[in-house]
Amino acid sequence: MASSKCTSLSGALSRQLLDSVDSVLFDCDGVIWRGDQTIPGAPEVINSLKKNGKRVFFVTNNSTKTRQMYADKLGKLGFNATADEVFGTAYCSAMYLKNVCKLDGKVYLIGSNAMKQELEEVGIQPVGVGPDPISGVQIDWANVPLDKEVQAVLVGFDEHFSYMKLNRALQYLCNPDCQFVGTNTDTRLPLEGGKAVPGTGCLLKAVETAAQRQAQVVGKPSSFMFECVASQFDLDPQKCLMVGDRLDTDIMLGSNCGMKTLLTLTGVSTVAEAEANQKSECPHRQRMVPDFYVDSIADILPALQA
């Protein structure tokens, strides 16, 4: 393939690129949908890829849905997809705790019911999900009863995040043998309109600061997300295309794992940012330069339907 980078993906190049890969991994928010609205043409792209014999996977840092919930959303929006093709951080964190941390106990969970379900599916019992209001005085909080079977703290998106939850996580993490895992570091939840909803990254930062410890992060750009897919489906990264809208997560993941990368401009990052990274001398920034870019993934449809 071309060794030049950050090239606009024209029709002829599209065909060449697609022929060189057997699997395509898509980020979701800002790539195939925005909130509950599909990016026009996205379902046709995914469905055509499959008709063309390509395998398709969905790789998202969003921890609020189980694989099945994603499959349901994909189905409703016209995508031909199954739960086992979806890799969200709720599922991947559970896999990480089980297979990498080799967790043999419970986990104190700051996160959603979806995360709770995925953990239970792999035989890990979570504690702490749901609202957790404060009561008592300071010394009570330092002395909250701790479940002796908890061997890890997992932090994901949690709209019930509170001082009490932060406190409990801190008490568990005072034990250096207690593992510390986070789903992702995204600072914002991607949403339509002007409101900014703080992302998991904010909650994780609060816990890391209080505990003065760094979490092991499962989500993009950590290569664990790719390893999760690759190990189940026997993927060759050189025959994989990573399609995303964020240079610091999607494209970085692609670079780190040796995949080809395609930036779509329907989300967060811009071509200007990609070009600035390309011009920089910094090796870290060089990993955030896509091989190709398109205005929208719908742009590859003609090549698929030819």
């Binding site: 404060i134 300071q138 010394i139 909080w141 330092a142 002395n143 949690d158 709209e159 019930h160 995040f161 509170s162 001082y163 009490m164 932060l166 406190n167 801190l170 005072c174 600072t187 914002r188 949403l191 409101k195 900014a196 909803v197 703080p198 992302g199 990254g201 904010c202 909650l203 930062k205 609060a206 816990v207 890391e208 600061t209 209080a210 505990a211 003065q212």
Partner: protein
């Protein structure tokens, strides 16, 4: 003298005559509270006497604490309860009091402040006459209101974050929304990631909540508390302090000692609180720039060590 260059300087253990000489050269003594003059509800043995004797010897004594959970009038009561006689409200500088002073006198805030903070912070703001956006938790429970959809008050011109046991996702969301306006001020009471409690336990501090909000807003807060200089400037504006004649006594290297360095004060680390002698030595022996500022000039086991010098 504080701030001298050279590797391996500092951490001089003080005894007897040396303490007397040091105190003779200083007119003002600034004490941190937690871990220095008290631990929880117990005074450090000898601390009340030290404070009394310093005042009798004509020294001015100030208390500089990052702890924003009480208003100053509560601190006065605590001092009294723990056996410190004659500590006046004017001598107490907490990060809550100084944050309110900053908003009123430095920022000269025209508008309201959205506060993530405890009752201690609220009281100081009220006492300083700084308008606070009242938290309306009932309104947050109205149908249709959620973390994705909530009203904003156009009069909010500043966000202040401090220790808040009632911290919620909703407060984080609202604060980060206000901070999207670059003209909205962003203040934090103090940077402490955790606070020590009795028996070696700890609880999350203002710093952890500030970190969440900095991440959400992609902005850095202006931090009022130690090691920032502002608390010293607050005292100096009211009491005309000469840094060369002032001594900072603290237990936390990254806040108290760094604060002393930043303000040009001589510094004493006491070992009755958070930091250890080993940690002080690590900073002293470090090659990294900036670490030397966390090295205390002097070290004592406890402020009670001053008694020997003062009782002569």
């Amino acid at each position: 003298m504080a701030g001298a260059v050279g590797g391996g300087r500092g951490c001089v253990t003080l005894r007897g005559a040396q303490i007397r000489d040091l105190l003779d050269s200083k007119h003002n003594v600034l004490f941190d509270c937690d871990g220095v003059i008290w631990n929880g509800e117990a005074a450090v043995t000898g601390a009340p006497e030290v404070v009394s004797l310093l005042k009798q010897r004509g020294k001015r004594v100030f208390f500089v604490t990052n702890n924003c959970t009480r208003p100053r009038e509560n601190y006065v009561q605590k001092f009294s309860r723990l056996g410190f006689t004659d500590v006046a409200e004017e001598e107490i500088f907490s990060s809550a009091y100084c944050s309110a002073a900053y908003l009123r006198d430095v920022a000269r805030l025209q508008g309201k402040v959205f506060v993530i903070g405890c009752s201690g912070v609220m009281k100081e703001l009220q006492d300083a006459g700084v308008p606070v956006l009242e938290e309306d938790e009932a309104a947050d429970r109205e149908p249709g209101i959620s973390i994705y959809n909530y009203p904003l008050d156009p009069d909010v011109k500043a966000v202040l974050v401090g220790y808040d046991e009632n911290f919620t996702f909703m407060k984080l969301a609202k604060a980060s929304c206000y901070l999207m306006n670059s003209e909205c001020l962003f203040l934090a009471t103090d940077p402490d990631p955790w606070h020590p409690l009795r028996g070696g336990r700890i609880t999350p501090g203002s710093g952890s909540l500030t970190a969440a909000l900095e991440t959400a807003s992609s902005r850095k807060a202006t931090v009022i508390g130690k090691p920032s200089r502002f608390m010293f400037e607050c005292i100096a504006s009211q009491f005309d302090l000469d840094p060369d004649r002032s001594l900072m006594v603290g237990d936390r290297l990254e806040t108290d000692i760094l604060f002393g360095s930043n303000c040009g004060l001589s510094t004493v680390l006491t070992l009755t609180g958070v930091s250890t002698l080993e940690e002080a030595h690590r900073y002293r022996d470090s090659e990294e720039p900036g670490q030397k500022d966390c090295v205390p000039d002097y070290v004592v086991e406890s402020v009670a060590d001053f008694l020997e010098a003062l009782e002569e």
